[in-house]
């Protein structure tokens, strides 16, 4: 990150789609759009309603980590039948060009920060075969700019401030957009973000606009509920380990869970994937696709043995990974950005905040 302070700009709502269309000449722009009852990210299109703040139902993780992508394709050469005969040619996909995510939530931008060390191989530092880095993710990561749109006020499911974030956090963002009367204040947070402002409609912001944005940020911050002290939350690491064999606790926490996996698919910090092949016998591809540790199949071995056959064991793993195991590997950081999507979208009201706090409390009693 550069030390130079970036000059904020202002863009009127009228000029907004023109600016984004200009950006779309050079990059694929993903922006939120209302579809039915959900707000989803779509490639920039006409009539997207960019002027109003939309809170995306899904996270933007698919831009860097697609729901399904080909790791490579294969083609059998010569007269071939069966999976092995003949020569085989493997081809890696061509990487996409640059992308811009417009209108991400601040928590979503921070979510990518918890992906980074995983895909950059930091969890495999001890691996004997050398550190394995994921070229598919890293290429997109280097090629993607993130424009965060500051939240106006928090939902009762939001808890970004528990885990170091906030409605207008700039961590992981290239540009922070704040909704003012008549337009957006655009505050660059990186060189890449500053470069996006090179457009005639992005005019230098007035001091009163900058002050107004700061006041809005503070108001949004105040709309968040009370956070437990960070020191208390950090106890989750030891607490979740201490409760590992307390099946009664986990049965209680998971009693309502349907194992539907909605929480994992919508979560900006869930990154588990499956690898499967698709083939017509001659040509095909090896795909990686989102997977969910809430599914009973996730750990099912060929022998029929399943270390997490019970949903209690699976919920324990999801919460444990985010609030204990991941922090153990990655400098104490949680792999949860507090977006609250898993809470809001759960059909049976499973609340990760309550589970973590209950675990800390329960562990303190034993």
């Amino acid at each position: 990150m550069s030390d130079r302070s970036f000059t904020p700009a202002f863009i009127s709502f009228k000029a907004l789609s023109g600016w984004l269309r200009a950006l779309a000449q050079k990059a694929t722009v993903h922006a939120p759009r209302r579809e039915g009852r959900a707000v989803v990210y779509r490639e920039l299109g006409d009539g997207q309603g960019l002027e109003s703040f939309l809170r995306p139902t899904e996270s933007a993780k698919h831009v860097l980590f697609p729901r399904s992508e080909a790791l490579f394709s294969f083609q059998r050469q010569g007269e071939a039948a069966g999976a092995a005969s003949g020569k085989i040619r493997l081809q890696e996909p061509e990487g996409e060009g640059p992308a811009i995510i417009f209108g991400a939530l601040s928590c979503d931008a921070r979510g990518f920060l918890s992906f980074d060390p995983v895909y950059d191989g930091c969890g495999t530092a001890q691996a004997v075969g050398g550190i394995a880095k994921d070229p598919y993710y890293l290429r997109r990561r280097a090629n993607t700019s993130i424009i965060v749109r500051a939240c106006k006020s928090a939902l009762n499911t939001c808890f970004c401030h528990w885990v170091g974030g906030g409605p207008a956090s700039t961590e992981g963002a290239d540009l922070l957009a704040t909704d003012l009367e008549g337009g957006l204040l655009l505050s660059p947070c990186s060189e890449a973000g500053a470069a996006l402002l090179e457009h005639p409609d992005c005019v230098p912001a007035l001091p009163e606009q900058i002050a107004a944005a700061a006041a809005l940020h503070a108001a949004a911050e105040r709309s968040l509920g009370e956070a437990p002290p960070a020191g208390e939350l950090a106890a989750s690491r030891a607490a979740l380990l201490a409760l590992f064999e307390n099946s009664e606790f986990w049965q209680r926490q998971s009693a309502q869970c349907l194992s539907c996996g909605a929480c994992t698919y919508l979560c900006p910090t869930c990154y588990c994937f499956n690898i499967t092949d698709e083939s017509n016998g001659i040509a095909g591809a090896r795909l990686r696709s989102w997977d969910s540790c809430m599914s009973a199949l996730f750990t099912l071995e060929a022998s029929g043995h399943n270390p997490r056959a019970a949903k209690a064991a699976r919920l324990k793993n999801r919460v444990g990974h985010k609030f204990s195991y991941y922090p153990a590997i990655h400098e104490g950081r949680f792999s949860c950005c507090g977006c609250g999507r898993c809470i809001k979208s759960c059909p049976s009201s499973v609340d990760i905040r309550k589970i973590v706090l209950a675990a800390i409390k329960e562990a303190a009693h034993v």
């Binding site: 920060l113 191989g121 956090s169 060929a302 922090p327």
Partner: protein, 306 residues
């Protein structure tokens, strides 16, 4: 962002108990090796070990990759049947014998069934080496007792042959290998040599009497108690089906082996094999990179989720 602000944020981000931290984005260099891309290899020989186990000897198609291929005993590879899938097997030939890479595959599901259809000359994909390996450095100068059950003999074979090839580094070496029946014993072509050679003491056992069987009859843990290896300056290396491991560990503890003296390998469903896909964890350990080899002492320090 002002300097003070960014300093405050980076302080918040890296402090324990906080969420994802800031920090520079990971760099991307265009020539990053692709860890998901298998190396094409050719099957040079198929050995029928038992009704359910076949051994494959492979050579990487790229001569240079084959020559430069370096691995340690106990490391695994992912074998690809393009169009079917990929699964994990230990490289059961030792690094001291590099004419080919050997894998023994028990038919268990889709990909293993497809692998069983391979014949000499066929192509497979290989991603290897993956995972950690047997701590053979710290085993030097010690007595070794190998206890293998069924397909669990595969990883032990690697280390056993490696030690026989560097024999002077180790003390007394004993092998207890058990299978359900004589037909289920893999590596039968090698057993006569293992039984007669002077630098190895081999005991074979099967679960139930069978005609023409001249060796032990009885479950592995019981035969082990009979053999009664002394724990002093000795390391036990064991691998096999979960139920056998459970009772073998009990037998070893009864014989006085400390958890640090017992080495075993774990199995988990795997996909990426490189610590990224999130599938094979036990607490904060990933069996694909932190394992598959663990000492019993290490396992005791991990959450109980086998």
């Amino acid at each position: 962002m002002s300097k003070a602000q960014s300093a405050a944020q980076s302080a918040a981000g890296t402090a324990p108990g906080k969420g994802p931290g800031p920090g520079a984005r990971p760099a991307f260099a265009g020539d990053l090796p692709n860890p998901y891309l298998p190396m094409p290899a050719t099957v040079i020989e198929v050995i029928n070990e038992s009704p359910s186990i076949k051994t494959f000897r492979l050579v990487l198609n790229d001569e240079r990759a084959m020559r430069d291929f370096h691995f340690e005993p106990g490391q695994v590879g992912q074998l690809s049947m393009f169009g079917v899938g990929e699964s994990t097997f230990v490289i059961n030939s030792p690094p001291t014998r590099k004419d080919y890479l050997q894998f023994s595959v028990m038919k268990a599901g889709e990909n293993t069934a497809a692998l069983h259809g391979l014949s000499a000359g066929d192509t497979v994909g290989v991603r290897a080496p993956l995972g950690n390996f047997f701590p053979y450095e710290s085993m030097k100068g010690k007595d070794i007792v190998f206890i293998g059950g069924g397909i669990g003999m595969a990883p032990l074979r690697t280390l056993l042959l490696f030690m026989l090839d560097t024999r002077k580094d180790y003390g007394r070496i004993r092998l207890l290998y058990g299978a359900r029946s004589p037909q289920d014993m893999a590596f039968s072509a090698e057993l006569p040599d293992w039984l007669v050679r002077g630098d190895l003491e081999t005991v074979l056992t099967i679960d139930r009497e069978a005609e023409g069987w001249e060796h032990k009859v009885g479950l592995i843990p019981n035969v082990l108690l009979e053999m009664a290896p002394a724990p002093e300056n000795c390391v036990a290396v064991t691998c096999g089906p979960p139920i056998m491991i459970k009772f073998t560990l009990q037998a070893l503890e009864k014989l006085g082996f400390a958890p640090e003296q017992i080495v075993t390998t774990l199995e988990k469903r795997m996909k990426c094999g490189i610590g990224i896909c999130g599938r094979c964890n036990i607490g904060d350990k990933y069996v694909c990179v932190d394992g598959p080899v663990f000492t019993l002492a290490q396992l005791k320090g991990m959450p109980n989720e086998l």
